[in-house]
């Protein structure tokens, strides 16, 4: 059962990822990318990481994909046809990607397969919360601060100060 689910979601992940890269239309690429995110969240569920799967759907599908679609709309030219073309490295990039995959597979198949799934702590969410709020509270707060600074920076960058010079912060 789990094997079949894993096979289905592995095929979905890789199929959506290939469709994202190969699509000639950038809006279609964004839709396929949402498929990649949801399928990866399903693989997180197969790895018994329920909280991370929910966070993946919230952040990636809810925020990042929507931001990408907004970016596509704000930067589009007249038509979306052929908006996602390859550059002159189409075959060189394919060679680099396939070569790296071959190298990784060559070393991965030599891994010992004796690793068995470890028992998940029954209070999985409590353990995460305690780690974040106790041991790693500085890193956690810094991550929040980094998100704040990034949001402010994005607003400053995106605001059109050329045409509103009187609003420049002094």
């Amino acid at each position: 059962m789990l094997t079949a689910l894993f096979a289905v979601f592995a095929i979905l992940v890789l199929g959506f990822a290939l469709a994202t890269v190969m699509s000639r239309n950038l809006v279609h690429s964004a839709l396929f990318l949402i498929g990649v995110f949801i399928s990866v969240a399903a693989m997180f569920l197969l790895l018994e990481s329920n909280f991370i799967a929910i966070a993946q759907v919230w952040v990636y599908v809810g925020a990042i994909a929507i931001m990408l679609v907004f970016g596509i709309m704000l930067t589009r030219k007249r038509t979306m046809n052929d908006s996602n073309a390859f550059n002159r490295y189409k075959w060189g990039g394919l060679f680099a990607g396939a070569g790296l995959f071959a190298l990784l597979c060559r070393s991965l198949i030599q891994l010992p397969v004796t690793a068995v799934p470890q028992p998940i702590p029954s209070d999985y969410l409590t353990v995460i919360a305690q780690a974040l709020m106790h041991h790693y509270v500085i890193a956690f707060e810094l991550a929040g601060f980094m998100l704040l600074v990034a949001a402010l920076g994005a607003i400053i960058l995106g605001k059109d100060y050329e045409n509103h010079t009187e609003e420049l912060p002094s």
Binding site: A17, I64, R88, Y89
Partner: protein, 101 residues
Amino acid sequence: MITLTHYLIVAAALFCIGLYGVLAKKNAIAVIMGIEMMLNAVNLNFLAFNRFLYQDVMGSLFVLFIIAVAAAEVAIGLAIIIVLSRKRQSITVDDLDLLKW
């Protein structure tokens, strides 16, 4: 029986597809999509290693921080791309040669 190797191979394939998108795409937003796919592959690796080799939640914590960094990175990247499309009327990465001598 699904082992660690299966997850790692799926993650490696996703990473390489994302790398292909980063290397071979003209549109800067498509390049950001490739980077997101690569980050997702790394998250999958972290969770697989955590599930199979490590009896703790360290992998989940790493993934949480990576998700936060990815969100910030997309926000800043898209803001830069929107400014570029406003200033230079093009978001083709080949045209972004401001730093070229």
